[in-house]
């Protein structure tokens, strides 16, 4: 079939005025909050060697990396699918000798193949933050409090934050033979107890070891979950340590005004496979996943120094969609003035230096056409030259004179 010249690849999109303004404002607010807490911006490359990008990913994640070949070497190059890995590498290669912990943030697109019929995008615009070089729960808490501060500043639509912990799941899953791990993780991610039971039997995992894994499907809720999990994890030192860690983080957050927005789900383990500690998943009040993160203590040492780290990434585009669909926004408006005096850049510049946005017609424009233009472009007021240096102010919506302006 011949491609229509107006067709675009499904999974790509254009942000028109309101959406572009919303995205810009959202990013600016998030950046402001992060700078205010001492996070410093890093801008990493859009391209990476595929071999670096693919380390530690599941087969499905690897298959979704968009790649092409470097012309001379033939080595596969990936459009980056994860910025955290790049930040970890920068922390190892560029930032040696800097005082620890490092507080870092970034903003930009990641790429992956969009699956048809799933509404997925090739490009996901993220803004994220990382703390590198601090192993204690204080870093996890600071990351989550920063996320909360950013949401309160920039996302007035409500949210829910769910915490899990890789240390518990990984410890419980240790008896599972590698060949069965994928199927068991899939059933666990669905909280499908019957399916999990079948897969565990097939894997030869029985008794208490199987019961623990099955119990994960119902270990969600509030603080009581940690107590219930402690009973189940009795005798498993790694899982108990992980629960202590999660408990410390949860308690610190609970006293910081999260209320019902905070919950625990010990059966959750979505996201990248490099997580070693707390795992965070953020939803909008309407249920859209708008961010995720976690602790990754073994990632930086792939590139050099053995540094613990924790981070979080917002899915900016989904946040924009959520804001647009729930009451829209008031961030976008047209120019402040249409100055109906073609070529009069001096007057326009005088207004611009005061912070107003002004459109000057490129060719002479009459009042009638000016009014029609202003109404379509959402411009509130029109300036028409009057005697002396002044202008008449005309309200665009009504065409009625509303006063005078001397420039």
């Amino acid at each position: 079939m011949k491609l229509n010249p107006t067709a675009i690849p499904q999974g790509t999109r254009t942000f028109l005025f309101e959406e572009a303004a919303q995205r810009r404002a959202l990013e600016k607010a998030v950046h402001g909050i992060l700078r205010g807490r001492g996070f410093e911006e890093i801008d990493t490359p859009l391209l990476d060697y595929y071999e670096s990008a693919a380390v530690g990913l599941s087969e499905d994640e690897r298959n979704r990396i968009i790649r092409f070949s470097e012309a001379e070497s033939g080595r596969p190059i990936a459009l980056r699918n994860d910025i955290t890995m790049q930040i970890a590498r920068s922390a190892a290669t560029h930032l040696g000798g800097r005082p620890l912990p490092m507080r870092l943030f970034y903003s930009g697109p990641v790429f992956r193949h969009a699956r048809k019929g799933k509404g997925e995008q090739y490009v996901i615009h993220q803004a994220g933050l990382e703390i590198v070089g601090h192993a204690g729960p204080e870093a996890d808490i600071e990351i989550i409090l920063s996320v909360k501060a950013a949401l309160e500043k920039a996302f007035p639509r409500g949210y829910a934050l769910s915490l899990g912990h890789a240390g518990i799941i990984n410890s419980f899953l240790r008896p599972v033979p590698a060949a069965h791990l994928d199927a068991i993780k899939t059933a666990l991610a669905k909280k499908d107890r019957q399916g999990l039971n079948t897969e565990l039997e097939a894997a030869g995992v029985r008794g208490q070891q199987a019961e623990r894994i099955i119990a994960l499907t119902r270990l969600f809720g509030g603080k009581e979950v940690i107590g219930a999990a402690r009973a189940i994890a009795a005798g498993d030192a790694d899982a108990l340590t992980a629960l202590d860690n999660l408990s410390a983080i949860y308690d610190a957050l609970a006293t910081n005004g999260f209320g019902e927005k905070l919950s625990i789900d010990l059966g959750e383990m979505r996201g990248f496979g490099y997580y070693t500690g707390v795992i965070m998943e953020l939803f909008s009040a309407t249920g859209a996943p708008i961010g995720n993160g976690g602790r990754y203590d073994n990632l930086v040492k792939r590139f050099g120094p053995d540094l613990p780290a924790v981070g979080f990434a917002f899915d900016i585009d989904t946040m924009v969609d959520t804001l647009m669909r729930n009451g829209g926004n008031t961030l976008w408006k047209g120019a402040d003035y249409l100055l109906l005096d073609a070529g009069n850049n001096a007057a326009a510049d005088a207004l611009r230096t005061k912070g107003f946005s002004v459109i000057v017609p490129l060719a002479s424009l009459g009042l009638k056409d000016g009014l029609a233009f202003a109404q379509k472009m959402n411009i509130a007021e029109i300036l028409v030259p009057a005697a002396g240096n002044g202008f008449k102010i005309i309200t665009a919506a009504t065409g009625v004179e509303a006063g005078k302006l001397d420039i």
Binding site: A160, F220, G221, E260, S263, T286, G287
Partner: protein, 220 residues
Amino acid sequence: MTEQKITVAIPRGRNMKPTIELFKRAGIDFTAALNDDRRLIFEDPKSGARAITVRDTDIPVYVENGAADIGVSGKDQLEEQDKPIYEMLDLGFGYCRLVVAEPKTLKENDDPSRWTTIRVATKFVNIAQRHFQNKGIHVEVIKLYGSIEIAPLVGLAERIVDLVSTGDTLRANGLVEVETIMPITARLVVNRASLKMKTARITGLVDAMEASLKSNPIKG
């Protein structure tokens, strides 16, 4: 805690009656939906719940997108659509099997272990593709929306992949099963964010349903 109002997606068709029975046992009464085929939305103000009645194939997408917090879907649709939603209970009802079937005459001289390239007609394109691909068989999948059994009779495809409950329809069309792909039952599905934001309400329902089904399974 604020009132946690929930929306329930109820499948029209075969699983509708058992689903309404299931929710009734958990204290949510949508029996009105059984006697009213035109309306699509039902309220049960007493329990603070709303039901939407939709095609069974559409349940996963309603739940995935949070248009419903909870619903009942056949395992066949969950496998076919592969949505990121929770499958919290095997409800036991809606039992059938997803099978590969072919004409009786073909079966007489057929050995499935020798299949290398086949044509199948089915509604379940993804499941069929995955099933045969994993066995090293090249499959040409022909997507149909209904009356699958007719395909082998008119030469559209040699075989079909379809749901079988009693086997009557297959027999009536001269077809026999050659392989079972998977057994199917209805599942209780839950939106991921709903479980986090309406934990008490949904956990209460899941526990009540599980306990009730254990002592007294719902047939159908």
